[in-house]
Amino acid sequence: MESYDVVVIGAGNGGLTASVTLAQKGLKVLLLERHNIPGGCATSFCRGRFEFEVALHQLSGVGTPEKPGPLRMLLGQLGVLDDLDLVEMKDLFNVIGPGDFRLALKPDRVQVVAALQEQFPEEREGIVRFFDMSYQYAHQMLSVFYFKDPDPSREKYPVLYHYAYKPAIEVLDELFADPLLKAVISSYWGFLGLPPTRLSFAYLAMLFFVYIEFKPFHLKGGSQALSNALINRFISQGGTVRFNCGVEKILVGNGRIEGVVVESGEKISARYVVSNASPVTTYTRLLDPETIPEFLFREMRGRSLSPSAFVLYIGFDCEPQELGITGSMNFLAGHTDISDKNLLDMQRLDMGDQFMALSCYDVADPDFSPPGACQVSAVALKYGEPWLRVPPGEYHRVKFRCAESMLQRVEAAFPGARNHIEEIEAATPLTHMRYLGHPNGAIYGFEQYTKDSMFFQPGRSSPLPGLFFASGWTGDCGFQPTLEAGAAAARSIIRELAGQ
């Protein structure tokens, strides 16, 4: 029987950074991935002459070489920074619609405030206060939890103590009157999966802070370039990776991890397992539920599954300017309603006037697509549940119908776009379910309702000795958090081994 120090299940962001961190420490690591390519969400696929980016819109926490952010530092520690061509994006985001409304925001605090004030002169003071509060919140949060102030108190950190659990909508209602401004300023909710009625202000504040302070980035070659760089590093550090090799079972004996069984039936022994799979899969399918303490299921029962997404990947036979696309990150707003209506929109199959994101990577990186061509990915968050109920024989018809309604929205924002389509591919919640293996195709793991967010997440540890988690299911979602989660899980194992 082959034997390893650690088996890592899944080569998504968390699995990859965990593997590299462990291999760099000289541990014997086996990374198992059921697909033929690493990355999970951080991947790409080819159609015709296009290579489509699957999931990365704006990489956060990178920062410049002069003022590096936490992610740049992590990539440096992982030894892959020199292998990556990071591209700084020149815009924070653009809002297109409703109607003729257009607004472009740059990733600079002064410019964001000025642009918003110019557009909403009546709300000048509220805008300043919003960013003051967001920054105060971010600074206080970092002082306490990142720089670990040994003696925090309500007096020292009033914004943190007061606002940590406040829904974003309360802050927006307190500061602003114009519903359009409220909608514009909360656009990033789409990155987190819950509308401002349900999302805590803390998330919105932190997102503005990291994107403005460390700038949004992209990668040449897309997120696949990052996944490939990490695998390359892992192999060069002596790690073993097996693609096309799913895990069937995690073996437990004497109350701790003993190894895994792979698809072929082969047993592999290991002292530790890092699961990049969801805890739902890990606890109910990979492990024998009998061996799992009851409180874990009770805890999971309270969490709900995040939306999945309907995505159109479109390759155009012209430059973005010809289509009128001037921003790399765009939000298509069909209305200014930021209420729970958005949850209902996500529960329907069709697009209607639902809030959408649209990225065009070629704006920031003109050679992302072949010369004279460009690509966009248009995303609408959609719960997976309704798609599970579509009869298989109707699937293609429903998929085309939803794609058509989304394409009409893209055309409304960029007239004439349809006449330049050279390639198009749609991904439904079932597509995400297929490739990620997540229940209901949930792209953000469990939902980030405040009761389940940040301080209430289970994190990398598990009650089963030897089992650790590294994914957006047990912490925050997104590229930066999941990449960090893998490294953190690995460090826990390294610490534990050092203590023995």
Partner: protein
């Protein structure tokens, strides 16, 4: 231990209460409830177990294999898609893609129409070994060659060569049987009329339905033949269609046909986005490709060392995937044409030849990955599977 200060934040108590309530009425994550696999299997099964229900002789060199399933319904497909058949031929496990020639509305079976190719390993196996009642394993429906209502035109101009007729047969059948609002101009190139598969049925459709135009193009016509002759040239297409606007062009046939027809279409001013091409396997003789290095002959033999595995002998003219599977090294595969990327392997040292236009991810190229089904060794190699 550090104090848990988040318990002191405003609203903490309310969150704890909310959590307790929700846990009482929350979701059921028990193993069999809405697990992804059963839903995915209905659309994209990893493997299908198919039974040959019937074999229909189409022409002296072409047979249709009617495949049914024993367990549950067949996954739906789009007219034009293919199945990869996983075969065990004399101990060699290999795979071959075949377009489904039956219509997607015909949900009871998949028809696979196979033309016998000289020295074709799989087609010979189908024609000589496979009998009704045999079981064969396949992938689910795959591929991107279909009418896409999002941006393709109502009018389809189809260019088929030889057995490249099969995806178009599925499309035409669906259009006729489902009364779809589409017009089809189907140019079908063959050396002789006898080789044209589905000739009678297509003639029947074209006589019966005004929106189906079946146009055989025969290179070497017998006496008395009064249809189109020669190759499918731009001139022939223009003379037949008159109007080129608002039409999408679809091509399915051997590489030689693409090499000839695509420049012809471009010569007619058809924009790239209006030309759709089905993958059709590696060229019969790769050494005749443009850019094939002069110093290497098809019969040259090289060593392939697999990291943590055996060392094999490989012919330069054989795709890496075929060499590997002949010697018992299995690489997953579907399209056998470089498109699907299932057979992605890493070249650790040495050089391979890939024909122009194989879609390999940019960062895969950087780190030396290739698609084994369309990569040919140009020297000794070390690879990682």
């Amino acid at each position: 231990m550090r104090k848990e200060i988040f318990k002191e934040f405003d609203g903490y108590q309310e969150l704890v209460e909310e959590r307790e309530v929700v846990r009482k009425y929350g979701l059921d994550y028990s193993p069999d409830k809405d697990a992804p696999e059963p839903y995915i299997r209905r659309l994209h099964p990893k493997r299908l177990e198919l039974r040959v229900a019937d074999i229909i002789i189409e022409t002296p060199s072409t047979k249709t294999f009617r495949m049914v399933t024993q367990d549950g319904a067949l996954p739906p497909f789009l007219a034009g898609q293919y199945l990869a058949l996983f075969l065990d031929i004399g101990g060699v496990r290999t795979g071959r893609p075949y377009s489904i020639s039956s219509a997607p509305n015909q949900t009871g079976y998949y028809d696979l129409t196979v033309r016998r190719v000289e020295q074709g390993l799989a087609s010979t196996y189908f024609h000589e070994v496979v009998k009704p009642g045999n079981y064969l394993q396949s992938s689910g429906p795959e591929g991107h060659f279909y009418h896409n209502p999002l941006f393709h035109d109502r009018a389809m101009v189809c260019l088929a060569g030889g057995s490249g007729i099969t995806p178009f047969m599925s499309m035409v059948r669906e259009i006729v049987e489902c009364g779809l609002d589409r017009e089809v101009f189907l140019f079908y190139g063959n050396r002789t009329l006898e080789e044209a598969v589905f000739h009678e049925q297509l003639r029947y459709y074209t006589a019966r339905f005004s929106h189906i135009h079946y146009l055989p193009v025969i290179e070497d016509p017998a006496e008395g033949y009064d249809g189109l002759i020669g190759l499918i040239t731009g001139e022939l297409i223009r003379n037949t269609l008159k109007e080129m606007d608002n039409k999408t062009f679809y091509l399915c046939g051997p590489q030689a046909m693409y090499d000839f027809c695509i420049p012809e279409l471009e010569g007619l001013g058809i924009p790239r986005r209006k030309i759709r091409k089905e993958v059709y396997g590696p060229p019969t003789d790769i050494t005749r490709s443009a850019n094939w290095p002069k110093g290497v002959r098809g019969d040259d033999l090289f060593q392939i060392r697999i990291r943590n595995g055996k060392t094999l002998e490989a012919r330069a003219g054989d795709p890496l995937a075929s060499t590997l599977e002949r010697q018992g090294v299995l690489v997953p595969n579907l399209c056998r044409s470089g498109e699907c990327s299932m057979c992605r392997v890493k070249i650790l040292s040495g050089k391979v030849f890939e024909p122009a236009g194989v879609p390999i991810r940019r960062s895969d190229r950087r780190y030396g990955y290739t698609h084994a089904c369309i990569a040919f060794p140009l020297g000794d190699l070390e690879i990682m599977v």
